[in-house]
Every structure is written in C-alpha cells, then in structure tokens.
C-alpha cells in the first residue's frame, strides 16, 4: 500500500471514531492519544561491527516523529469490537499506517467466548521478559513508549469457574510482526492450549504449543503475594526446536566463511527459568529484582563465531556475498531472543503517582556472562488531565563486544502524550 492509501485508510477509521462524538456514547468508548516525540540515538557504525555504516539496522540518529494512537471499543452483551489504528510519521518521511488492534469477541455464553483478529497476546508474570510466551519474541519492550507489533489470532476461551480459564490460541498470520519475514524467520502457525488458575494469594498458568514445523513449547508462570510488601514470581519454558539464529563455520555454498542459521542445533530441549521478587516501602516505592537463565542463550563458542563474522564483514565486496554477509549480521541482531546471553540480573525501582503527578522508573540490567549492563529510565509527568510529558533514557555499559553495547551506545527520547 503506498503512503497516500495508508493515510486515507487511517483518516477513514479516525473519522468513524470522531463521528461518534464524546468519549462515552452508549456501548461505545473512544480515546485518542497524540504523541509527538524526538529520539536521539548514538549507535556504532564502524566496519567490523554489527551495523557497518548503519546499513543493517538502519537506525535514526535524530528522529522527530508523530504517533497518532486512537482507540475505539464497542460493546454489547454478546459482542465486543475494538479497533486501535496507528499512524506514524517522522522527519525521514517514513509513514506507517496499521492496526495495533482490530479484534472482535463473541460471547457464546457466560462461560465461553471466541476472539478473532489482530492483537498482542501477553502471557507470563515477569516485568522484563516472558520466556513462557511462545508467540512474542520481539525486542521492542526495552522502551515502554514503543508498542509491540501485533499478530493475527484466533482464540477460544472457556471459563468453568471464576478462578479458572482454559484457552485455545492460534496465530493465523504474522500480522505486523516483522521478525517473521525473509531474511529472518519463516512464519509458521503455532497452536496453543493454556490455562490460568487463581488462588487466594496468587495466580498460576501454563501454556503448551506446537507449530506447523513441530516447534514445541511448554511455558509456565506463577505469582504469589507473600505479605503487604513482598510479591514473588517465577516463569520458565521448555522449548524444542525454537526459532533461534546461531552462527556456524562454513556456508552451504561456500560463499562465506560463516553462516547464521536457524538449523538442526535447535533440535533439542532448552530450559529457561526466571525468578523474581518485589519489595515495596511504605511510601509505595517498589524494588524489583529478577534472575533470568536463558537456556537458549549463546555460549562462548557462539560469541566467538559471531565476532568472527563481524570481523570478516569487510572481506565481502561482491553483491551476492555482501548481501549474504549483511543477512548474517541482521540475523545476529534479530536472533529470536530479546536477551541472547545465558544469565541476567534485572532490577528496577519504581515510584508511581509521586506528588499525584509523576511516575518514575529506573532499570538496571546486568549480563553475568559478558559483564555488560544497561541502565534505563522512564519519567512521566502529568501536566494536566490531557497532557503528559515523558522522557526515556537508555545507556549501555561495557565494552563494544558486550551484547548490550554492540549496537547502541545510548538513546534518549523526549516527548508528550496528549489524550482526548
């Protein structure tokens, strides 16, 4: 779809919303968020890096963007319809128009419902990474102001009691998830069965999924309130044949010295686990700490091969080999894992509604394997009922070989969110 058609589609859906008038008409709710922001990124573009001359990641140094995020919900006794169109435009004349959510729910009776459409399906108990979720492996969640791209789902829910939910879920199409297109992963339908069970002081759940190419996943998660100050949680997964790009020596046609593939080394079981707890002070300030062991994460041999690929990039000058070499770098960046090393400590301090106006969070992630770290902050300041200023800061710490710092040095984002 060209940019003009994209704009017409967006304006059409936006005008339908505005035609309703007011935020609450019988059975209809709507809301519009207008988000202008500027984002400055300092990234590494050297030869022999992951992103030589920025031709792989195509990051923007200084981006001035406008995101329009309307949302519409119609609800009656049997049907719920929701539409969240998105329009994004920036100073590089990149225009994207799509639906973050376009979903219809049909309530068969009090105990069953069927859902069809485009949306993000979140599962799990962790704040930072959800190894239990077989559907979303995007790395977008580093910045809370950027939405995860949705996929197309069919979901059937059965609620035998108020404490128990059993669901069937299938991703029918890749939707907006760019990771499922060449040269990254092939999109395969994934069929899942999961349950959520609530206990008086917590919640547990598990999901089993199998894909068209027999990729299988058993995810589990749970949370428990220990006292008025402490909450604990765990989450984990057992994966067989996951989507994961790893580096190997040699190339099937001997064009390159190395290749990055989603191959037979993934035909085994990988165990990932995460444990976390939070502690709240009486003031409401809350500390979160998590330890994450990523069974699919890369070992020293994998990292040595990846470094060899980066070092050999400038050896390939001909079109075909250069394209393949760049494809390899793209696959290292999008390996299929948000945190691609084996062991991490995540921590966060949060205070919400400070002076009734501000939300503040400070995050520190530390990789126990390569000793790299990431410091990030989020500050939201409500100037009025309709206007919020925000800033997101991200600073990677460590040498250039560490996973956190191999692409981006630091990033700052400043913007406002205007809500109607």
């Amino acid at each position: 779809m060209d940019n003009r058609n994209k704009l017409i589609t967006f304006l059409f859906s936006f005008s339908i919303m505005n035609a309703q008038g007011g935020n609450y008409i019988k059975n209809i709710e709507w809301n519009v968020e207008i988000m202008p922001f500027s984002k400055f990124t300092n990234f590494i573009t050297e030869e022999n890096s992951l992103n030589p001359n920025n031709r792989i990641a195509k990051l923007y140094c200084a981006e001035y963007a406008l995101h329009l995020r309307p949302s519409l919900k119609y609800e009656n006794k049997k049907i719920v319809f929701s539409a969240h169109p998105r329009l994004k435009i920036n100073n590089y004349k990149d225009l994207s128009v799509y639906f973050q959510e376009l979903k219809i729910e049909y309530r068969i009776n009090d105990k069953a419902q069927i859902m069809l459409g485009r949306y993000v399906k979140e599962l799990g108990s962790s704040l930072f990474v959800n190894p239990g979720n077989p559907f979303f492996i995007d790395a977008d969640r580093i910045n809370p102001k950027i939405e995860i791209k949705p996929m197309d789902f069919l979901q059937i829910n059965y609620y035998p009691s108020k404490n128990f939910a059993l669901s069937f879920l299938a991703n029918l199409y890749r939707g907006e998830a760019n990771i499922y297109q060449y040269p990254l992963f092939d999109f395969k339908r994934n069929y899942a069965l999961y349950f959520d069970y609530y206990i008086s002081s917590g919640h547990i759940g598990s999901i089993f999924s199998i894909s068209e190419n027999l990729k299988t996943h058993l995810g589990y998660y749970g949370q428990k309130t220990i006292s008025d100050a402490i909450i604990i949680w765990l989450e984990g997964a057992i994966d067989y044949r996951p989507d994961r790009f790893y580096a190997v020596e040699g190339h099937e046609h001997n064009y390159l010295k190395h290749d990055v593939i989603n191959g037979s080394r993934n035909d085994k079981y990988f165990f990932s686990n995460l444990f976390g707890f939070s502690f709240s002070l009486k003031s409401g300030t809350t500390f979160y700490i998590e330890y994450f062991h990523n069974g699919k994460g890369f070992n020293n041999q994998d990292i040595t091969l990846q470094n060899a690929i980066k070092a050999s990039t400038n050896e390939y000058h001909f079109d075909a080999t250069k394209i393949l070499s760049d494809r390899n770098l793209g696959r290292i960046i999008n390996s299929g894992m948000i945190f691609p090393m084996k062991n991490y400590i995540f921590s966060q301090i949060t205070h919400n509604e400070l002076f009734n106006k501000m939300n503040c969070s400070l995050r520190y992630f530390y990789c126990l394997d390569d000793k790299g770290a990431q410091l990030s902050s989020l500050l939201e300041w409500d100037l009025s009922n309709n206007l919020q200023l925000f800033s997101v800061g991200l600073f990677n710490i460590g040498n250039k070989q560490t996973n956190f710092k191999q692409l981006v040095n630091y990033q700052t984002m400043i913007g406002m969110a205007i809500n109607y």
């Binding site: 935020n23 799990g124 829910n157 909450i231 809350t286 509604e353």
Partner: protein
C-alpha cells in the same frame, strides 16, 4: 461431683452463649458490608472521587466499580473513566490480590498492599473493603455518636495481605449501617478515618434498602488531605465467569 457437673454445664452454656454473641456480631458485620455493596453476587456503581488538599480540590476521577462477593471470596473490577490521562487504567481485586493495568504496561501487574495504599488505588480500595471476610472481630463495645447508639467493632486483619491491620468500626445499632471507620497500620498508627453516608435508595430481591452514597476519607498522616467519594448509578447484575480475570484488564 454434682458441683463439677454444674460448673462444666455452666462453662459450656457460657461458651455456647459466647458463640451465639459472636455469630450475632458477625451477622451485623456482614449486613453492614451489604449496605456498602459487599456480600452481593453482582453489583456495579459509578464512583466520583474528589481529592482535596487544604480544602482545595487537587483532582477528580470518575471510576466504574463492578463487584461480586461469593461466600468469603470477593472480586472487584475498577475501570477509570476520566480524566483522559486515566483512561486505560484498570484494577482487578481478587481476594488479597490486586492486579493493575495502565497504558504503557505490556500486561497487568500484581501490586503489593503497600503500593495499593499509595496513589489513586488506595481510596477505591476502601470502597470495596470486605470486612466480613478479611477481618476478625476482636472486641465489640457500645457507644453513643451523634445522639444514636452504635456497636463499636474492633477488627483485626485475618491475613497478612489485608490493606489495614486494625479497624475501629462504628455500626448503627438499629440500621446495621456503618457510620465511621478508623484504619490503623501494624505499628498502631492511625492512617485514615472514613465517614459513611447512606442516601441511595435501591430495590434488591424485591426489598427496599438505602445504600451507601458518600464516603469522606481523612488522611491522618497528612492532615490537610481528604477525599470525597460519591457513589451513584447502583445496579445489581450477574457477571459471567470471565469478568474478574486478569485477561479482562487488557
């Protein structure tokens, strides 16, 4: 031997009488919860929250509250309707668990009792307090307040996730409606005081009742702060099993 039998019989009768008294007060507590919207299988209302500092209104919120109480289990779904920057905020209370969702969060998070007591969540929490299930009666005294006779309940949390450790609760002897509540933390420090008004005539199961219409909450830790909660549009409705699940917060 006869004397011992008499003593044992006396003791048993006393225990039985104490149990009856205990049951009576539990029933009064349950009834007072009912007038505040608890102990009902399905009820909803609109809550207008006004926060004041030094008698000046700081902010106001409009919240939709849906509650279901089954035996000792309580579920509440709290949806923020206005102002604009609150749209998308939702809270789900399931017994001692409180899940919170807002724009920017990927999924609902479980928040602690202490987080619950700070910020906007705190006062909405008071409206859906289930004293009958979450507190045990330590002592009941009689007192006069504004010329009427009251039972003064001393309540203590029966689980470590309850928002307030201790509540002194004034219940009208005739109407069994709560007039006043004093909320205390574990240290014994008074945190809040709430005054309740009943001016919402409703029909429930063919009977006429006067339900809660206003709660004034005074912050004892920050004396110039107080909150007025007005309840309106009370409706009795049955909710499906999916209503009070975490998934509904998205």
């Amino acid at each position: 031997m006869k004397n011992i039998t008499v003593i044992i019989l006396f003791l048993f009768s006393h225990i039985s009488m104490a149990q009856n008294i205990d049951e009576k007060f539990k029933e009064i507590l349950r009834e007072s919860d009912f007038y505040r919207g608890s102990q009902i299988s399905g009820i909803s209302w609109i809550l207008h929250v006004q926060n004041f500092k030094d008698k000046k209104q700081e902010n106001e919120l409009l919240i939709h509250v849906e509650v279901s109480t089954l035996n000792n289990k309580q579920f509440a779904l709290i949806t923020f309707l206005s102002p604009s920057n609150s749209i998308g905020k939702k809270m789900l209370l399931r017994d001692q668990n409180l899940f919170f969702m807002k724009k920017g969060l990927r999924q609902p998070i479980l928040i602690s009792g202490r987080q619950r007591l700070s910020g906007a969540a705190a006062n909405a929490d008071i409206t859906s307090c289930n004293y009958y299930a979450d507190y045990e009666i330590i002592e009941v005294k009689e007192a006069k307040y504004d010329g009427s006779d009251y039972w003064v309940f001393n309540l203590r949390a029966n689980n470590n996730q309850a928002s307030y450790y201790n509540i002194i609760y004034w219940i009208d002897k005739d109407k069994h409606q709560a007039k006043k509540a004093e909320f205390y933390g574990k240290s014994g420090k008074q945190i809040k005081t709430a005054l309740f008004r009943y001016n919402n005539p409703v029909k429930y199961k063919s009977e006429d009742y006067n339900f809660i219409s206003q709660i004034c909450i005074f912050d004892n830790l920050r004396e110039s702060h107080y909150t007025i909660l007005d309840l309106r549009d009370i409706k009795f409705e049955e909710f499906g099993n999916s209503k009070f699940l975490k998934e509904n917060l998205n």
